[in-house]
Symmetry: C3
């Protein structure tokens, strides 16, 4: 889709500043992915500066992976401020359902109306129900099992809901787009989901049609993953070639490679 | 040893969830190593959820590398809980002996009876004596200099003691196994010791013969290191090929490659 | 310059212990760069041990990237102690000018007389003026635009001021050296500036002529970057080959490759 591949050009031209309040495990990965794709990352979480940073950036990404009491408060301050000044923000509900503490924070973050909620199937299902048990941070459900939950969650929150998996679903109420790129080995590298959320932040910073922006982010993840997998012998080499692919991918090849169904 | 190479198969079949409360420097590495080997990592340290997580996982790994007061408390809560519910846990005493603060935390953790203590020679020697000075986090002693200390520490604590080095020693009271795989360049990558502790966590989650489990973990580290070194030109490329090797290694090749003396 | 390439030999012979109180995003990178170059990294920030660690090490590096209240206090304790016992220390003012909170911490750190201040052009300009706005953590100015600010800052603080960019400037009052190595893709990897600060810490630990030490650090960054770029297809592969190059570089090749103007 040309509309989507043009967004990659726009991303590189505008090089939006994206703030992440994210988990320790993936900070390096997500910063590198943002830089390689053409955006500019900043990580800042101090209560004393978090609002100032939200003012400066094009979008905010909140990822609850390694939360604690201080960081939870940072996330709440940032989300509330982003909501109040209408700055787009992305919520990555890592490990939703794994502990009551995570669920409680999520229930406090949702009223600040995330622009996008991106998670794996178990996380998205957990956000709409108390009956789902996640296995730590990895999904035990396939993405298509979560479509119904995604539609419900989007209706409840007004967010675009992105479910990552073998097929990625991007849901805005009852409109659904699909991305079929990507390689299963990507699940063997930590932080690929978090990276998807970071790139989503970059695209919502430059494109107000959020459904389109999210589809572009997931297509970019998938196409870069496909390109990287062709050169890789395992998850270690895949990670590197993934950054190279993000950096080198041209809009034309992006357009040709993406396997997208757009409503 | 077939018994050891079979454990790799078991690890991949069971894909145990391993919780790490570890240092910031290596979180990404250890999560990637666990994923590549076939386990499922989770990092969670909030006082409000740390016990819930210990309940969910197959094993816990505590690594004191970048400790502070909050994290020390997380480690104590988690270790006490793991001990009380008989969940296996691994202690990595990074920088033991470097400061009184580290020694004090270690003296509080040991009563919660770690299943395994894995460190370099200086760290293991430091745990049995106040007379050893470590040089930061890197060992200034060779692993065979620490055997006596390892035997003493195992007797004092009932833990399996693993001393990493050119030869790895796995000590359960006065039984000792040895692993001779691995490459000196591995010491030029940060977090290889921490990665060994993480993989040890994965094996003790699936095998109750902890001496065997620890030997398997060290053999896997060493064989993956050997395979990676053959393809590498330095520590940067070694790191990647190491993950690829962890991911691609088959039990048969694992059995052929390992250089293990088992009592 | 032979005097500079000899410093690489000295670094490897002495293998100085370098303490970093740095940001979460780059900890892994900077530890790996120090190891690959021949130094020994330690990261420790607990208020309860930070002074003990400063006593043990050859130099201290303070990087304010992901500061919060606890970490700010760690930095102040460490800087004050390093100053009082005349241990060389390097300040990396990440994001200077981006928020009042960062500026306030920097104004408290400067009286403890950093041996070296290393930043990008925007950060160095921001330290001498309230009129500069940084774009997050990436510079919006070229390094030569900051020379005047660098001279002023060096005079005000007695520090050697290092401005990273296409050309690196190393300024001690009105003496200036230049390093012209390095590749633009290095700016597409997170933490390359922080890595430069870490290596600067390694060199000031072994060489009391700080202007020379800083020039050596920047030349090593640049030459390793040049070597890595020749083998790379993008920022992902560049990162790895950079560590390999740091590890494999011999003093002779270092001397031949460096493009340095020394006053």
């Amino acid at each position: 889709m040309e509309q989507i591949s043009e967004l990659l050009k726009k991303l590189r031209n505008q090089s939006p500043l994206v703030q992440s309040i994210t988990n320790y495990v993936v900070m390096n990965n997500t910063a590198n992915a943002l830089l390689a794709a053409g955006a500019s990352p900043i990580m800042a979480h101090a209560h004393s500066e978090v609002k100032d940073m939200v003012n400066l950036v094009g979008a905010l990404v909140i990822n609850i992976g390694t939360l604690d009491e201080y960081w939870s408060e940072s996330m709440l301050i940032a989300a509330e401020h982003a909501h109040s000044i209408q700055k787009p923000w992305v919520l990555d509900p890592v490990g939703a359902g794994a502990t009551p503490y995570r669920n409680e924070l999520l229930s406090k973050l949702l009223p600040f109306k995330p622009t996008v909620i991106r998670g794996n199937a178990s996380e998205i299902m957990s956000l709409t129900s108390v009956n789902i048990k996640s296995k730590g941070v990895d999904s035990t459900n396939t993405s298509d099992e979560a479509i119904e939950a995604g539609i419900l969650l989007s209706s409840q929150t007004d967010a675009v809901v992105v479910i990552s998996g073998e097929v990625d679903y991007i849901i805005e109420r009852n409109r659904i787009s699909q991305v079929k790129n990507g390689n299963p080995i990507m699940a063997k590298i930590t932080g690929m989901g978090c990276t998807a959320s970071a790139l989503t932040g970059a695209f919502v910073a430059i494109e107000k049609d959020y459904m389109l922006a999210c589809t572009a982010a997931m297509a970019l993840m998938g196409v870069a993953g496909d390109l990287a997998a062709e050169k890789s012998e395992g998850p270690g080499t895949l990670q590197l070639h993934f950054y190279d692919a993000l950096y080198n991918l041209q809009p034309e090849e992006f357009g040709e490679r993406m396997i997208v169904k757009y409503p």
